[in-house]
Symmetry: C2
Subunit: 336 residues, 2 copies
């Protein structure tokens, strides 16, 4: 028997989660049965999409049940195993939840090579985050060399990887982010231009830096920035709906995009997707991203916050204050 501390959903939040949302419990885990293994979790991924899982409404994934362990991606090391594909000592990634240890039967779990990149990167640029950027640009955006690509929340996990994928593909890449530091970083990692939405008029600046219009707008925020992009579409443009962090915590629905009729005038489309939609293309996408990382054309910035699972609630709120640059990860066990 081993024990694990884990974070459970105690109460569904209205707006931003708070202390009442979570409960930390200490539980015993059964020993792994035949075909199972035990993982000592070292890193846990924090994603804006998690907010959506807290609401009891039909969505692309079932909501987290009240009382259940909070759903989360993580990395860890196999410490006991009765599964041939996941031997003791293997580094793995999977949806283990916000917990210190988990027993798994291998469903959705992948062995990772931590000599290519560390666990935080496997949760980010080489994990769901990278796949989201990759599939969004290729499957929905039909990315091609010469495209003008605009990305919001560009200094975030998905945005920063998307920008580098587009840059490597020969596109002109414009990032929108908050503050001069994030914008400077975007230019460092290959963005052709960066717009600071906190100090600049996004609509006007887009007109300046993309005078011929936008071919792909990768939307991570919704709201006024989506409208500014819609107002600057080029004919045949693709608007990729990847999320709308501005509204995840809204208690009343935000206004819709006023400029949506730009889709008609420009024969453009706005299309949603989820990272889970292209499982048959995941392996090739990760191979492509790993190759970029190896040749130095995929800079991955993670904000790694040290702590215990009990710090999950407070750490999660950082996503909605625009404080982190790149992928947000909690490190709950030092392994190196």
């Amino acid at each position: 028997m081993v024990t694990t501390r884990q974070v459970r959903l105690a109460q569904r939040p209205t707006g931003l989660p708070d202390d009442d949302t979570w409960e930390v419990t200490t539980d015993e885990l059964p020993a792994p049965g035949e075909g199972e293994f035990l993982v000592e979790i070292d890193h846990i991924s924090l994603d804006p999409a998690m907010r959506g899982w807290l609401d009891d409404v039909p969505s692309y994934l079932p909501p987290v049940r009240l009382g259940a362990v909070m759903r989360a991606q993580g990395t860890g090391t196999v410490s006991q195993s009765r599964h041939p594909d996941f031997p003791v000592g293997a580094a793995v990634t999977g949806t283990f939840g916000v917990t210190e240890r988990a027993v798994s039967d291998g469903t959705g779990v992948r062995v990772i090579d931590t000599s290519i990149a560390g666990p935080a990167t496997w949760l980010g640029a080489l994990g769901m985050t990278g796949l989201t950027a990759f599939h969004g640009l290729h499957e929905v955006g039909e990315l091609a060399a010469g495209d003008t690509v605009v990305i919001s929340a560009a200094a975030g996990g998905v945005g920063s990887v998307a920008g580098q994928i587009a840059h490597a593909a020969g596109a002109t890449v414009i990032g929108i982010a908050g503050g001069p530091e994030k914008c400077a970083w975007l230019r460092e990692i290959g963005f052709d231009a960066a717009i600071d939405y906190k100090s600049e008029n996004v609509l006007r600046r887009l007109r300046e830096v993309a005078p011929d219009g936008i071919d792909i707008y990768f939307d991570n925020v919704g709201g006024e920035i989506l409208d500014a992009a819609l107002a600057n579409l080029r004919r045949g443009a693709r608007v990729i709906l990847c999320g709308a962090i501005a509204s995840y915590n809204a208690t009343t629905p935000p206004p819709g995009p006023r400029r949506y009729m730009s889709l008609l005038v420009n024969r453009a489309r706005m299309q949603g997707f989820l990272v889970f939609d292209y499982p048959e293309k995941d392996a090739a996408a990760i191979a492509s991203l790993a190759a970029m990382a190896a040749e130095g054309s995929l800079v991955s910035r993670e904000t790694v916050v040290d702590g215990s699972v009990a710090d999950f609630g407070a750490t999660f709120l950082r996503l909605f204050r625009g404080e982190n640059t790149g992928k947000l990860v909690m490190c709950i066990a030092e392994i190196y």
Copy 2:
């Protein structure tokens, strides 16, 4: 020398056009030169899209210039010709403008067979209206047998043809229209269900008649009905943006679709198109529509208003009062 009365744009309207918008002039036309011909116009098409052409803003077509003859599709008979493809006596259709006579060099003009259908139908189900419905459903909507197709402004020109195309293709077709008479007519021409937006809750009724969700929503109106459709999408749905008659006369932009994030959850897309985008497919589309008409599976209802070109302004306003069923056409010369 012949003379023609024609309607010119005197002043750009704010909101709905009124008497100050138009000026009726009588002008002399030069005799047709080499490669030209003279058309005696008998029918003029009235379309919601015309409202957009009156605003001095960049759009898919240049705005009608102040003082210029109002742009319009029409049908007529060639009365003088120095063009081999358009002999005297030929029935033709083209963008002749709101005028009694026009000299043309044949650009965009097609000879029509009025033994298949009368001029009003050639301006409707077998003209731009039919092409709009056809290309929207096939090129943007990727219509397939078994699809659940919802159409707004379903008793209008484009909507009624779209419903019949979808029905003939083996789809389940639901129309949204205003009033019991229009709804009864929709059921007559093959719609599986009709929703009266004036007396019914569209969102709730859509849930009842399309319990598994909508595959294609053909949007002709925008506004709340678009939102109701977005709330009922099925995974992979296509929302075809064909127009937004509710907002053509708005002086402030209407609210955007609040439910647009349904596109994300349902991996759906919303896409605009214009009838002009598929010229290489027009001939096949019209042949297909003419075949449907010949076998009786394409009922075309036109509201034909007799009058002179001077009545254009007043007749145009009928489009925005929901008074007409089917395609609205003015007959300015009795030819049969």
